[in-house]
Amino acid sequence: MSKFIDRPRYACALGGALSTLRAIPCAIPIIHASTGCGHNLHNAINPGAGYLGGGYCGGLALPSSNVSERDVVFGGENRLREQIASTMEIMDGELYIVLTGCMVEMIGDDLDAVVSEFADCDKPVIAVHTPSFRGNSFTGYELVLCSLIQKYITRQTNKDPSLVNVLGIVPAQDVFWKGNLREIKRLLERLGLKVNTFFGESETLEDIKNSGRASLNIVVSDVYGIDAAEKFKDIHGIPYITTGFPIGADATKEFLFVIADALGIEESLAESAYESERQVYYDYMERLSDIYNDLDLQRYAVVVGDSNYAPAISRFLSDELGWLPELVVITDSLEAAQQNELAKRFENFESGLKPSVRFDTDTSSVKKYIAEIWPRNRNERYFNFMNPTVIIGSVYERDLAAEFGFPLLTVSYPVTNRVVLNRAYAGTNGALSFTEDLLGILVAGR
């Protein structure tokens, strides 16, 4: 059973669905919900994701049935029918997706029946049940993808052996989603693959429609995108592997080899791909050899983030940057099995370090864990304090950082104190940007 959450770092299923659709060009969401749902969620998604904005038809341009008391009493189906018809009249899109909020699900509107009346329209209309009480943003991402997989993506028996799909990066919840997808795609192309990421640069609805031809789904997450991958397997017979979210040269190497292995690509190709990545990467990293050692830029770290970023950043800090990630708080709402799976990611760090890993959805908990892992000085003359430390978290950690006097780099949602466009933190290029941002804070006063 779930509990209350102190400052949640995600919206509801409808919110996740909206940010997922925000990332698909020419997909028009139609919200069937109370008046404020779309507005409220936009005001979370936009600032939280580094000012993602409403884009083509998001934000306050989102079509919404805005049901009110009267519809709750008499049912909202007529209003929905009217709204779908008028939306198709006015909004210029290629795909119309009807999403639901809590109220209409509770009063029992028959969404699927109403939407089926639009089956003969020249543009597809798809229904997705996304009430808030069903789950959070991550659930919304899965629900939208599962509906597309079931109702939109063409079933194809002939698979393209060099075509793969990437799942597990949730637009907006991963603030750097678009840059990250570009980097993952770039790495996979090094193995000679063609890649659908669904939300990447220059990708279209046509690519999504044809993603059923892929021969492998790559889930770059231990938690997100797995429902979608299962659905792909059921409906389109595409197998999947999960790889974890790669940040840094080590993780990139592992990623390339795992994919090569799964697709029967020659290991030498992965080896040469990695080798050229490594060369470029260390050409840049080499620059830091002076400043890192001149100034002793090693730091303790507290990492607060979601299931993708927290393990990936911790490992990068530990095994490549040579830092000391002492505490990791994973802020998602997770089942025990998912927690166990994630905990494995913190075993066997090359550095030999073993961060204290906590699973907690409450923002106020982070401070308590710091006190637990590293007691405060009680007036002792000589005291080994966890300092200097950098917090890698979200904007919620700002007060905590200020209280301890630790610098903060915001990476995990919500990130309202940065503007994010095409930046990536995944892969080798992403790790370089991450290092720039992280060490940039430390030299900012120089």
């Binding site: 209350f4 934000g59 989102l62």
Partner: protein, 506 residues
């Protein structure tokens, strides 16, 4: 009017017969108001749309006040999504609070995270846990429980649960019933919030009682109260706005307290030791001020909004009349106008003749139009979130407005896009939100409000002029966007009447 004993405030479409869907001219609207359109038989009240876009609900708007209250924790009693818009205020909220109190904390909120199980079996258990956690963990003075649609529909008896919990908490618990589906008029939020404030924050302050009260102390006290006024701020105003209004009222000898935004609980208690409650926007305060007058006999003023010279003059004069300070007020007004009028001259040269479109809250847009006319600009269209009786006095400051288009639409950028395409203004002054559409018209955009800019009083008029001038000097950003991105509406939409989708639901 016995609203306060009810569980929650009534919806504005019922209480004020407010309208959210209208299209016509200002002249038509004025006639409409005269003929009683905001009365029981009102023609404007029941209109709605066949196509609509998302808009704020009373829950999200309630948070814009609730999140500003100091020493409070807000509990969103709802599934996980409701109120998550507070994310957008995490940083600025703390900064703004600290302008009033350097030690103030930022927003702390909890979501009761109602899930499928709770929808069936009720959310009481989670609400109890959340309230007790908030009390223990954060030790706030007040815990505000804002409930969304779901608990209202499953029938949680929130007031009883909270009354019971209050015996176990150090904090005062304030229920705010602001479920979104209850009203089409977003501004009902103000009533919902004030309803909670009235029930829990408003009580006479505990002062030391004299055994035998010396006459001098008594006179001092009476004099103090006779010069105290409360100005009802709004969360869209800035600290600079407050300081300007305070300066003007201090100048005629009045002491000012600002409530409700960024106030502490005790500010509400001391607000009862006051001689006049002053609204700056009828849309916000009428519900609260009427009840305070009935209960505590403090008179109130709801007239115009002090934006623009004429409106500010009028606002100060109306206030001064309560205190017999008209002479002082006129002196101040003359002095301020002389100074400001000269300072606006260079901007008049640059801005004169420019055509402007304004959209946002009904009172604010009309008040802002006065600044534009003052600068020699031409107001070519207005769009209000909703329309009700409070728009009437604000029209007085405007010249030649009767033929100007006015519409009512809470956001609804599709209508605005169509109207802009027809009117082709030179500049748009608009409420936040929806600028992903507005910007693509390639025009300069000035935000209608901004909690870090000065808009009010005489200094605000100058600031608006200065910023308009700046924004018009270079709007390449929006121009390039319009050349390189496209609007989501079909071509046919721009051939239709902008009010084509308005329907009557009676």
């Amino acid at each position: 009017m016995d609203y306060i004993n009810a569980k929650s405030a009534p919806a504005r479409e019922d209480r004020l017969k407010a309208s959210i869907a209208f299209g016509g001219t200002c002249g038509e609207l004025k006639n409409c108001i005269k003929s009683g359109c905001f009365s029981k038989t009102g023609c404007l009240n029941l209109a709605n749309r066949r196509f609509s876009q998302t808009q704020g609900c009373q829950f999200t708007l309630s948070l814009s006040i609730l999140n500003t209250l100091r020493n409070a924790v807000v509990i969103m009693h709802s599934p996980i999504g409701c109120g998550v818009c507070s994310i957008g205020n995490v940083g600025v909220n703390k900064t703004f609070k600290q302008l009033r109190d350097p030690n103030a904390e930022g927003i702390i909120w909890l979501s009761t995270n109602l899930d499928e199980v709770d929808v069936i079996s009720g959310g009481e258990h989670k609400l109890r846990e959340a309230v007790l956690f908030a009390d223990r963990e954060f030790r706030p003075e007040t815990i505000i429980v804002a409930n969304g649609c779901v608990p209202a529909l499953i029938g949680d008896d929130i007031d009883s649960i909270l009354a019971d919990l209050e015996t176990q908490t150090a904090a005062t618990i304030v229920p705010v019933h602001c479920e979104g589906f209850k009203t089409k008029v977003m501004a009902t939020a103000y009533d919902a919030v004030y309803h909670g404030i009235l029930k829990k924050y408003i009580k006479k302050p505990e002062r030391r009682q004299y055994t035998i009260e010396p006459d001098l102390e008594k006179l001092k006290e009476q004099y103090r109260i006779s010069r105290n006024v409360n100005v009802f701020n709004v969360s869209s105003m800035s600290r600079q706005d407050e300081l300007e209004l305070q300066r003007l009222l201090n100048a005629i000898g009045l002491n000012v307290t600002f409530i409700p935004c960024y106030a502490e609980p005790e500010d509400f208690e001391y607000s009862l030791e006051s001689s006049l409650n002053i609204s700056i926007c009828g849309t916000h305060d009428d519900y609260f001020l009427k009840i305070i007058k009935e209960k505590y006999e403090i008179p109130f003023l709801i007239d115009t909004m002090p934006i623009g010279r004429k409106n500010t003059d009028r606002w100060i004069l109306k206030i001064s009349e309560y205190f017999g300070l008209e002479k002082e007020a006129r002196q101040l007004i003359d002095l301020e106008n002389r100074l400001l009028d000269e300072s606006l001259e260079p901007f008049r040269k640059a801005l004169s003749g420019k055509r402007a479109y304004i959209s946002g809250g009904e009172v604010r847009i009309i008040a802002t139009a006065e600044i534009l006319q003052d600068l020699g600009m031409k107001v070519v269209g207005l769009k209000a979130h909703h329309l009700d009786q409070f728009i009437e006095p604000v029209f007085d400051a405007l010249d030649e407005i009767d033929d100007v288009l006015i519409s009512a639409a809470t956001n609804q950028p599709f209508e605005q896009s169509n109207i802009m395409n027809r009117l082709k203004p030179d500049v748009i002054i608009t409420h936040t939100g929806g600028n992903n559409i507005t910007a693509k018209h390639g025009l300069p955009v000035l935000p209608l409000f901004g909690p870090s800019y000065n808009y009010m009083g005489y200094s605000g008029t100058y600031e608006v002029a200065r910023r308009l001038n700046r924004i018009l000097r270079n709007y390449q950003f929006n121009k390039k966007l319009s050349q390189n991105t496209r609007l989501p509406f079909k071509k046919e939409w721009y051939e239709k009447d902008p009010f084509y989708y308005i329907k009557n639901e009676s």
